[in-house]
């Protein structure tokens, strides 16, 4: 279903203003309740035993001594969960609790519930696990070799070339045109190989939940998640109960960035709650978060691009090899789809591979697959521009995808904002500002698809003229404000008359996970539809009061008005006036909508960055940063800017500092914020933003998702800036000081 842009809608009253978020006061006063903030009477505390080995067969788990410790109430292992039918579900469950084989350092092996956290920790030491240590593989290129240690011996994966190595789990190809002819037309061809490290989403709130299962078999779960229906469906399947018997409530969520779009601890807490008959609280430490959740894929990519002397790209090729840990995933497909998405190319081919390694199962991270793919393409285009002495923005404009372009991944683009975004960057004062010694300016484009999907909204008109909106998507960055704004806009009432809450899984129908930059788009769309449904009823009630035909009533400025030959015959009735007498005119008034939506509208961004590289230390300082991004229609510009700024800074961290570092023993060496260094306030300048609004034809107000595109360009933008500032180009991320210093020394 695509809901068309309402061309007539121009005079927004609420939308487009910088509204204060409804959950804000709770969050600045400490009242907001996050995952770890909930307790229950009689609650037990759980702890998880994790494998110290990157790859080991679990021969035996002896729980006798642990269970004998006073205060220990339950122990669970893989044997306490239901076998799953589909591979996707079984992999997700096996990642929550190792079944027979521990596949990475930190993989959960058993869990304990006890009367205090201290006893639970002590009991972990009493669990006796007998391991048979197995050979392991950590690097994607090593994992793709035929003689690499095998993770899931004998398992068959679909759609693979016949001669694929045993750890290759996924393969894909995209593109069109004659590649040989394309490269034959080029005046200059550059071919390069790149590597990017695995990075973690780095949300500040560790995973936490509170699970209860009563004697009647009914469960309640409180958890910090990006999608409580997803949690319900996984958990119900894993512990073998019907979905209706498990109610999941999403807490306030302390960041996710894709990392909370799956389950880790929730099934374990429920299994312990069922076994012990007591509420069970389970929280992860930061070390557990790093070792056993998240990270994004690491990558190894070959790129080849041909260009004419005047800057027209004639052909683009990329071979992308990703590892996403111990279980299959399709992130490489998103990389292969997005790599060249910004360009209008006659000949383009991308090939994606995923190989299994003894690392934690990758989780989505903001535009999963795209930052590392687009980094490689944007870096090679930049190198071509440097060699041919061409302006990097002019070359991008010359090759930019626009309406009617056949995208590198298949579809033909509708209205898109890349050209407008590039032009805005070109004429911005940042682009022509002078640079000093050891400084460089980097440019890069970014792209993300954005998603629509399923969402349920219910909108109730209260008898005092206020409005209650209930929706099913955890609010991860201010979406309750945007949704209240769209309801107020449609109904013609003030913003503060609407209260939007995120309902639990029993309060409202199914909604997909808060991901894909989809919430303001699709929940907003469903809210607009629900409001229009309520307006229809409000008009019918007014018609009934006036004794005229319902078709002769229109809704304008928050009130029903007689129209046509009845126009002016009765004074308008406001929403509050109709609501007050609803019990006499037919009962409660509400609207609802259940969306299943395409038409999310792709989003492009362009980033400009000035960097300075210290030739003595190799350290890079970000001097100035400007983000240009197409938001379609910015409902609440403050929070659109916030997404653009936050995405840019995560990308800066990825480019310069962040990486998973494993020792020769296959153990993670930096599972903490001291050694896994995310950007801090003193690393950064202000992040300037320019919002472009090229309306999305698939949304009544023109909204496009804005959450993910912002993390895509920084990797290449920073790399391109560093290459100018240091006079040497690096082909591996992160560009940490020792790596830059080595590159500078090597170039001498």
């Amino acid at each position: 279903m695509i809901m068309a842009l309402d061309q007539a809608k121009k005079d927004f009253k609420v939308v487009g203003n910088r509204m204060t978020r409804p959950d804000g006061i709770d969050k600045v006063t400490g009242r907001a309740l996050f995952g770890a903030d909930m307790s229950a009477p009689g609650m037990l505390h759980a702890a998880i035993l994790r494998s110290p080995h990157p790859h080991a067969r679990i021969l035996n788990i002896d729980v006798t001594d642990a269970l004998a410790l006073g205060g220990v109430k339950a122990v669970v292992t893989a044997a306490d969960f239901a076998p799953q039918k589909g591979a996707f579900n079984q992999d997700t469950l096996d990642n929550c609790m190792a079944r027979g084989v521990a596949l990475y350092d930190g993989h959960a092996v058993a869990a304990i519930a006890a009367s205090s956290p201290k006893i639970a920790q002590k009991a972990l030491e009493l669990l006796k696990v007998e391991y048979e240590v197995l050979p392991f593989v950590m690097d994607v290129d090593a994992a793709m070799r035929a003689d690499a240690p095998v993770l899931h011996a004998g398992r068959k994966y679909r759609n693979l070339p016949e001669d694929s190595a045993p750890n290759v789990s996924n393969h894909c190809e995209f593109g069109h045109g004659d590649m040989d002819a394309g490269f034959a037309k080029a005046d200059r061809i550059i071919e390069r190989s790149f590597k990017t490290a695995a990075t973690h989403q780095g949300y500040i709130e560790p995973h936490a939940c509170l699970a209860t299962i009563g004697a009647d078999g009914r469960g309640d779960l409180w958890t910090c998640t990006q999608g409580h229906y997803m949690v319900r469906d996984f958990c119900a399947a894993f512990i073998g109960m019907e979905a209706s018997q498990l109610r999941v409530t999403a807490s306030e969520i302390g960041g996710g960035f894709g990392g909370k779009t799956t389950v880790f601890i929730e099934p374990v807490a429920l299994a312990l709650a069922r076994k012990s008959g007591r509420p069970v609280k389970l929280t992860m430490s930061r070390e557990e978060v790093f070792r056993a959740t998240g990270p994004t894929v690491s990558s190894s990519t070959d790129v080849k691009i041909g260009i004419t002397n005047d800057g027209r790209i004639t052909a683009g090729y990329a071979n992308l090899r990703y590892q996403g840990g111990a279980f299959p995933n399709e992130t490489m497909m998103l990389g292969a789809m997005t790599a060249f998405a910004a360009y209008d190319l006659e000949a383009v081919q991308t090939i994606g591979w995923n190989a299994l390694t003894n690392r934690p199962k990758q989780a989505s991270y903001r535009a999963p697959g795209a930052p590392m793919a687009i980094y490689t393409v944007e870096a090679v285009i930049d190198e071509l521009c440097q060699e041919l002495n061409l302006d990097p923005l002019a070359v991008r404009l010359k090759n930019a995808a626009r309406k009617g372009t056949k995208a590198s991944y298949g579809p033909t683009f509708d209205e898109i904002g890349l050209v407008a975004t590039l032009e805005a960057a070109q004429k911005h004062p940042h682009y022509s500002a002078p640079l000093g010694p050891n400084q460089g300016r980097g440019v890069a484009c970014g792209f993300w698809f954005n998603f629509g999907g399923n969402a349920s909204v219910s909108l109730a008109i209260n008898s005092d003229g206020t409005v209650a909106v209930t929706e099913g998507n955890p609010d991860i960055g201010g979406s309750r404000a945007s949704i209240s704004m769209m309801a107020a806009e449609e109904l013609g009432i003030p913003y503060d008359k609407v209260r939007t809450i995120v309902g639990d899984t029993n309060a409202i129908g199914f909604s997909d996970v808060t991901d894909g930059s989809r919430v303001t788009f699709v929940v907003g769309l469903a809210t607009i539809k629900a409001a229009r449904g309520a307006i229809k009823i409000l008009c019918t009630r007014a018609a009934k009061i006036w004794g005229i035909d319902a078709d002769a009533v229109i809704w304008e400025d928050g009130a029903a008005k007689p129209s046509g030959h009845n126009a002016g015959e009765f004074p308008p009735m406001t929403l509050a006036e109709i609501a007050k007498v609803a019990h006499k005119t037919g009962g409660p008034i509400a609207g609802h909508y259940e969306a299943n939506t395409d038409g999310a509208g792709v989003s492009f961004g362009v980033h400009l960055v000035d960097v300075e590289v210290d030739p003595e230390t190799g350290a890079t300082k970000i001097l100035r940063y400007t983000v240009f991004q197409d938001a379609g229609k910015a409902i609440n510009p403050d929070y659109v800017e916030g997404q653009m700024q936050g995405g840019a800074v995560q990308g800066i961290g990825w480019a310069l500092n962040e990486e998973y570092i494993y020792g020769d023993d296959g153990r993670l060496q930096n599972p903490g914020f001291l050694d896994y260094r995310i950007p801090v306030a003193s690393d950064l300048p202000m992040i300037d933003t320019v919002i472009l609004e090229i309306p999305n034809p698939g949304h009544p107000y023109g909204v496009r998702g804005v959450g993910e595109t912002g993390i895509v360009p920084p990797l290449a933008a920073v790399a391109n800036g560093v290459s100018q500032a240091a006079n040497v180009r690096l082909y591996e991320l992160p560009m940490s000081p020792p790596r830059i210093l080595a590159a500078i020394e090597g170039a001498k």
């Binding site: 978020r21 780095g202 403050d638 800017e641 306030a681």
Partner: protein
């Protein structure tokens, strides 16, 4: 190991609790006193989400023992607003959209308040270095820094 009896002041109220000798002030606040505004992001003093003040000094409550609070004065995020009236920092963080998920917000507020008590007129660079111990993964810090500078200006009457 017997528990330790502690008498202390939290947000101006006299409070007594029993804690284990090795229990952190953060765990005491969250699990015994019922104040969950200070958050645990790392428990190693790297993220600042658990920031409180102890006799006016900014500390990570995960690195302080509950027993150390004997006879001291603790201020947490719950003590920052004056009834319904938000502290200027709270108001500027809220109105300046300087939070997205909000998990780091209590720590940022406590740290920023401690800064402005020492230095009512900090430069942008001084705010950035003072808050370098408070990790925020959502905002890129831009709106946080602006909110702190704006609150400082308002509090100075500028």
């Amino acid at each position: 190991m017997s528990k330790i009896h502690v008498t202390t002041s939290i947000n101006g109220d006299s409070v007594e609790y029993l804690c284990e000798p090795d229990e952190s002030l953060l765990d005491v606040l969250r699990n015994h006193v019922g104040l969950t505004g200070a958050k645990e992001g790392c428990s190693t003093g790297d993220c600042g989400a658990c920031s409180v003040t102890l006799d006016g000094r900014l500390v990570c409550s995960c690195l302080v023992l509950g027993a150390e609070a004997e006879g001291r004065e603790i201020t947490t995020i719950e003590g920052m607003a004056d009834g319904d009236a938000l502290h200027p920092l709270q108001r500027h963080i809220l109105e300046g959209a300087a939070l997205q998920c909000g998990i780091c917000t209590p720590g940022i507020l406590i740290a920023a308040k401690a800064l402005l008590e020492k230095n009512p007129d900090p430069s942008e660079v001084e705010v950035r270095y003072w808050l370098a111990g408070n990790l925020c993964r959502c905002t890129g810090y831009d709106k946080i820094i602006r909110a702190v500078l704006n609150a400082a200006a308002e509090m100075r009457g500028a």
